[in-house]
């Protein structure tokens, strides 16, 4: 007789293997219950020292936030401008394989390296400050916007492209009147999303010295200035929250 709820043995074995892995990996990392217990006590003290948030150095805080916003705006614009040609070059329906394959590879590398790693490299190469942050986030924007833009171009209808071509238009006119109108609205959507994500990321690149509020945050952490840390964290969360609402409004208005 078949049972109403037959036991799912592969799932049970899979779950058991996962549990065994978790135990083994925990011991590999040297995480013990004792350490966690001490940590919880420390966590309580840490939270106590964070309260109340100290906003007395608000000028420093504001300066960092403004620099983060500048980094986000500039890197988004640069990333978008560079993504246009790269996306066109990477689209397999418009570019020959010898051009699209290496471009796709380049975009994949841009996307695979975490922006903080890219930021460290730029800090070492071109020095501390906002310039390194702008460069790092531009690379990150490239990886994201160019990839999605290329995918959007690959999905366009070729009928319009052929119609424009049949009228005797040159390559530039084909792009301008056959390709771009089909992808423009999606491109704006990607750009808006990237601005939002660059704003989040620009609050962090400062941890490795690439400008913005992250530097202030990391310095406060190192000085055990936890009430100032709490103020900075609250400010960052507020900034991201406002940006998310504004981006949502703009997106709704565009549609």
């Amino acid at each position: 007789m078949r049972r109403a709820f037959a036991p799912n043995w592969p799932a049970r074995i899979g779950l058991f293997v996962l549990a065994a892995y978790a135990v083994w990996a925990t011991s590999q990392l040297g995480i013990t219950g004792e350490r966690l217990a001490t940590g919880l006590g420390e966590g309580g003290r840490f939270l106590a020292r964070m309260w109340p948030p100290d906003f007395s150095r608000w000028e420093l805080l504001l300066e960092g936030l403004v620099e983060s916003m500048q980094i986000a705006v500039i890197s988004t614009v640069l990333g978008i401008i560079l993504s246009l040609p790269l996306g066109l070059m990477a689209a397999r329906n418009l570019s020959p394989a010898w051009l699209s394959a290496p471009t796709r590879g380049f975009i994949a590398v841009c996307r695979s390296l975490h922006y903080v790693i890219v930021a460290i490299l730029f800090v070492k190469a071109i020095g501390f400050g906002a310039l390194a942050g702008v460069a790092a986030l531009t690379v990150a924007s490239l990886g994201f916007v160019a990839k999605l833009f290329a995918e959007a171009i690959e999905e366009i209808s070729m009928k319009q492209v052929e119609a424009v071509r049949a009228s005797g238009a040159g390559p530039a006119a084909v792009l301008l009147y056959g390709v771009l109108p089909q992808v423009a609205s999606r491109f704006i959507g990607f750009s808006l999303y990237q601005l939002d994500s660059n704003l989040r990321n620009s609050t962090l690149v400062g941890i490795v010295g690439a400008g913005g509020i992250g530097g202030t945050l990391f310095a406060a952490f190192k000085r055990f200035d936890y009430d100032f840390v709490a103020a900075i964290l609250l400010a960052i969360i507020a900034l991201i929250f406002v940006a998310e609402i504004v981006a949502g409004r703009i997106r709704a208005a565009l549609q």
């Binding site: 709820f5 996962l18 892995y21 978790a22 990996a25 925990t26 590999q28 990392l29 040297g30 995480i31 350490r35 966690l36 940590g39 420390e42 966590g43 840490f46 403004v66 620099e67 916003m69 500048q70 980094i71 705006v73 500039i74 614009v77 994949a108 590398v109 695979s112 390296l113 975490h114 903080v116 790693i117 460290i120 490299l121 070492k124 190469a125 071109i126 020095g127 400050g129 906002a130 310039l131 702008v134 460069a135 989040r200 990321n201 609050t203 962090l204 941890i207 490795v208 400008g211 945050l217 990391f218 952490f221 936890y226 964290l233 960052i236 969360i237 991201i240 929250f241 703009i250 208005a253």
Partner: protein
């Protein structure tokens, strides 16, 4: 009469055109403001290409002899941090997902509370979580695991709550009619419906966590970031190149693996 035949199509209403003009103006103003006021040292900008070229020359060729054993061990630690962090994050996220789903938890107060937890987890970046947990647990992989887990709660919880809300009420009502208890209703009525999205979300988050756990070491939370930070601070650029290649390889492999598994699951 020919004058009446002449019509010009105008795509947008005056209000729309004004709105578009204002958006363009605002965008241009923001860009101009940012470029004019940002503090960039001109000397740094002018010799940036030269310095970048110098860095790349120092990195080339990557010295793969550095890979074993130290980089390999750190890479394995990163893998463990990402995987354990994902498991812990999912375990912590599920109660909040159940609480946030309005068709499962009928209390508006609990819904809002759960949403608040999920939103705060998502607003704090994993590097900031890592800073916090380094302050709590001290430097080491424990801080990394918790940072990854706490960042994952918001992501997994939000997506799972959405999946739960889309679940069809029929199976649950049928089970209720048989007198099944709450855990049984969840396990046999809801879980089979949300299982595909659960695996999708879990794999997707694991992929993201793998990338993020590679940088946690920069603030002392264990993994390959620690080795990377040391190599950069000692200017061992061939070693830096090896580490970057190792990270790149693992990230690309993980992405291929996740895409394959998702294609088979869904």
């Amino acid at each position: 009469m020919s004058a009446t035949l002449h019509r010009e199509g105008i795509r947008h209403t005056p209000g729309q055109r004004l709105g578009r003009f204002l958006v363009t103006l605002l965008t241009v103003a923001a860009v101009v403001w940012a470029i004019r006021t940002v503090e960039i040292i001109p000397e740094f900008l002018s010799d940036a290409p030269e310095q970048m070229a110098d860095l790349l020359v120092r990195m080339w060729p990557p010295d793969l002899g550095h890979y074993y054993p130290s980089v390999h061990a750190a890479l394995m630690e990163t893998l463990h941090i990402a995987t354990l962090g994902t498991l812990l994050g999912i375990a912590l996220a599920m109660p909040f997902a159940l609480m946030a789903a309005r068709n499962i938890c009928r209390s508006v107060l609990l819904n809002t509370l759960a949403q608040l937890v999920l939103v705060s987890s998502r607003s704090v970046n994993s590097l900031v979580w890592a800073l916090i947990f380094v302050a709590v647990f001290g430097p080491g992989p424990a801080a990394g695991v918790f940072a990854i887990a706490f960042r994952s709660i918001g992501f997994v919880g939000k997506l799972m709550a959405e999946a739960l809300e889309e679940a069809h009420p029929g199976p649950v009502e049928a089970l209720t009619a048989t007198g099944a208890s709450w855990p049984l209703r969840m396990l046999k009525g809801v879980w089979p419906q949300v299982q595909p999205s659960f695996w999708g979300v879990a794999l997707f988050r694991w992929d993201i966590n793998l990338r993020e756990s590679a940088v946690l070491g920069l603030v002392g939370a264990g993994g390959i970031g620690v080795v990377l930070d040391d190599a950069i601070n000692f200017f061992q650029w061939e070693r830096v190149a090896t580490i970057l290649l190792a990270i790149l390889a693992v990230v690309l492999l993980a992405e291929i693996l996740v895409t394959r598994i998702r294609a088979r699951l869904l």
